[in-house]
Symmetry: C2
Subunit: 191 residues, 2 copies
């Protein structure tokens, strides 16, 4: 490994946002999973979450063009299991979902520790996941169609978070703990 | 048709941005075409463009969940043909592409008449399309992966344009000519 590449790995690990994540509820289409993983890597999400009953879901498809290596996926069998885990990490849980309480994504403070839940193409997010969350967020649409592709909606919200966190200098201070940092630096550096 | 729906159709036609569009160069995957169409509808793009040698390309796939009806696609056989058409409409042509002259998408003035060119998954935008355009624009990425999914990159740029145009009140004044407006109102209203 060249010194330049080693510096790059260090810089990226340093900029990972440990308190920003995405939760995919029953999102199973490989091209959507791949697109979400790429966006997560690009805004510095360290690990994503999947709520699914499929225990053998291929969460890290090939089409992710390498992002499978750079962004982890943690599987949860139920909403309760996932939310308990996220709350134990101090994360507020917001659903990307249309309802009366939904807030425009540009008006949400994403510098706060946040997990964003997104749903599947046909069914969207389950009522259980919506009702147990802390709030909802929408991306305003000015046309005839009622929803965006799930990977598109996810990316728009994540990039708004990126914008806010860049402004706040949150990519300049490492938030990853030493152990994870050194483990990953080794794993990424010497595959 | 209910009076409410008629009002909705009128409001959406009124808000269509005749001077903002997307040009897909050799983008052929149905799920990407569908996702782009949905985002275009959501930010008020009236018509998109495709540069492709495939004359029978299915540009309006089913998965667009209705957006095929709401956003047109104009096919062009070559870069020259497409660019001549766009320039005749007074549009500046910007490629979503990484190069030395590329500007951060948040620093581009999208209230100006603009066409955004995007490329295919593997090959990206051709050299010809890049060199004949007026400039390049990038979405900054802070991770290991080198590019976003094409429908994701397109949506991020379009939503930045939406944000700027909302701020300027550009969705409040109709930019569509009378003839197109009345034709579409009839077509959408009485299918
Ligand atoms: C295709 S949409 C699901 C639409 C589904 N028919 C429904 O009624 O919820 C897939 C997921 O993308 C996210 N999504 C799509 N468009 C969105 C928007 N404009 N605002 C917020 N989230 C959106 C939501 O998480 C949604 O569950
Ligand atoms: C998957 S990318 C193509 C990557 C291709 N290997 C290349 O080298 O250009 C597909 C298209 O999405 C757009 N795109 C993807 N990520 C982008 C980014 N961060 N900034 C601007 N455009 C991007 C570009 O138009 C690109 O041609």
């Amino acid at each position: 490994m060249t010194p330049e590449r080693f510096e790059k790995l260090k810089a990226i690990l340093k900029s990972r946002q440990m308190d920003l994540t995405v939760v995919m509820e029953n999102v199973h289409k490989p091209h959507n999973l791949a697109a979400v993983a790429r966006s997560c890597d690009a805004v510095g999400v360290f690990e994503t979450h999947a709520i699914t009953e499929m225990s053998n879901l291929v969460l890290r498809p090939k089409a992710a063009s390498g992002s499978r290596k750079w962004v982890g996926v943690k599987r949860h069998g139920s909403v309760d299991e996932a939310y308990a885990h996220l709350r134990s990490k101090g994360l507020r849980i917001l659903c990307a979902h249309f309802d009366e309480r939904a807030v425009d994504f540009r008006e949400v403070d994403f510098t706060r520790p946040t997990a964003i839940v997104v749903g599947a193409e046909l069914d969207g997010i389950t009522e259980e996941a919506v009702s147990k969350a802390d709030g909802s967020v929408i991306v305003p649409m000015l046309g005839m169609v009622k929803s965006l592709n799930v990977s598109v909606a996810t990316a728009l919200i994540l990039y708004e978070a990126q914008r806010q966190r860049l402004e706040r200098g949150m990519y300049d201070e490492r938030s990853m703990d030493d152990e994870t940092y050194h483990t990953l630096l080794f794993e990424w550096g010497y595959p």
